[in-house]
Symmetry: C2
Subunit: 167 residues, 2 copies
DNA sequence: GCCTGATTGTTCGCTTACGAACAATATCGC
DNA sequence: GCGATATTGTTCGTAAGCGAACAATCAGGC
């Protein structure tokens, strides 16, 4: 068989040619595999777009989506241990360590040893961190609105509910 | 006002306490802001889970989702320039450079200068890369199946369609 | 008490992701 | 032909994300 990807498909194209010689997608029995319809691919793309919208709407170029989630959770819960916060926000413990290190450097979060468990570090917002959350959270709903703009309200609710079930 | 997050909420807890003193979410007029219902947060979590399922189903621990998408696209299109591939797969040009560098190092992709445009680098699969795609693509549908398992077929179609519209 | 196993947090290495700056090249208007 | 503008690909810096290894500490069983 000749599954080699080198038929004479690349005859001659003009320099800024964006058309490409498209071969049919790989045939897998009855269903064809198209990357653009795979859930993982779509989630990656949608997440990229959502992050971009977050950055442009939130106003502060130094705050990332993950940092924002962490700060909001700390605001709600007051004081939690580092791993606990990671679980609440969906971060690996190595990731959590990095995110918290950066927030502590910027004086948005403070840490102290847990008096009841020497392994743990308790985290909380500083006064500055608290002020920042209060200020940024106003933009939160705008991020969601803008990200979901292509859908009508009914579809927006559907999407959120379906996503919550596979997350 | 006392918006400071330091009421006596942290009285005394047992050491391995996972219950936390939950404050009500921040009130923003009529709607409350809950991180767990924000589209960006859900997309991040769902994407994490999908990536984990990809890694466990694809069989090859050295192939990432992004690399897989790139390889499949190269298989379909034969030969494309680097930036072109990036656009097809949804990668920044800096990201594309990194991904391609690693695939070239592993001898899965080869590159040559575009004879018609000295700025461009044309990429294609090597024979080894082609064989790898043929082998891995079998697992592709399994990844999707597993990721969408919590939903029934109707909901699965809905989710894919909605995601495609906000991606 | 002591030993085993679990949890906590750190560190290392690697990948994706992206903004910004940059040099080389191509294109378009005139 | 020439100059302004755009595209291509590289490099640098920074962040999220995660597996793996590690030391310190805790909890449970006996």
């Amino acid at each position: 068989m000749d599954t080699q990807a080198d038929r004479a498909t690349t005859a001659h194209r003009s320099a800024r040619d964006e058309r490409r010689v498209v071969r049919p997608p790989i045939d897998l029995g009855e269903q064809r595999y198209r990357v653009e319809r795979q859930i993982g691919y779509l989630l990656r793309r949608a997440h990229q777009r959502a992050s971009a919208i977050f950055q442009e709407q939130i106003g502060d170029p130094n705050i990332t989506p993950t940092q924002f989630s962490s700060l909001v959770k700390l605001h709600e819960d007051g004081e939690v241990s580092q791993n606990q916060l990671g679980r609440l926000v969906g971060m690996d413990k190595a990731t959590t360590q990095g995110v918290m290190r950066r927030l502590k450097t910027r004086n948005l979060v403070s840490a102290r040893a847990d008096p009841g468990d020497a392994r743990r570090t308790l985290l909380r917002l500083t006064a500055e961190g608290d002020r920042l959350v209060q200020r940024l959270i106003i933009a939160g709903p705008r991020v969601t609105t803008e990200t979901l703009k292509p859908l009508n309200p009914d579809e927006q609710r559907q999407l959120v509910n379906l996503l919550a079930r596979i997350a």
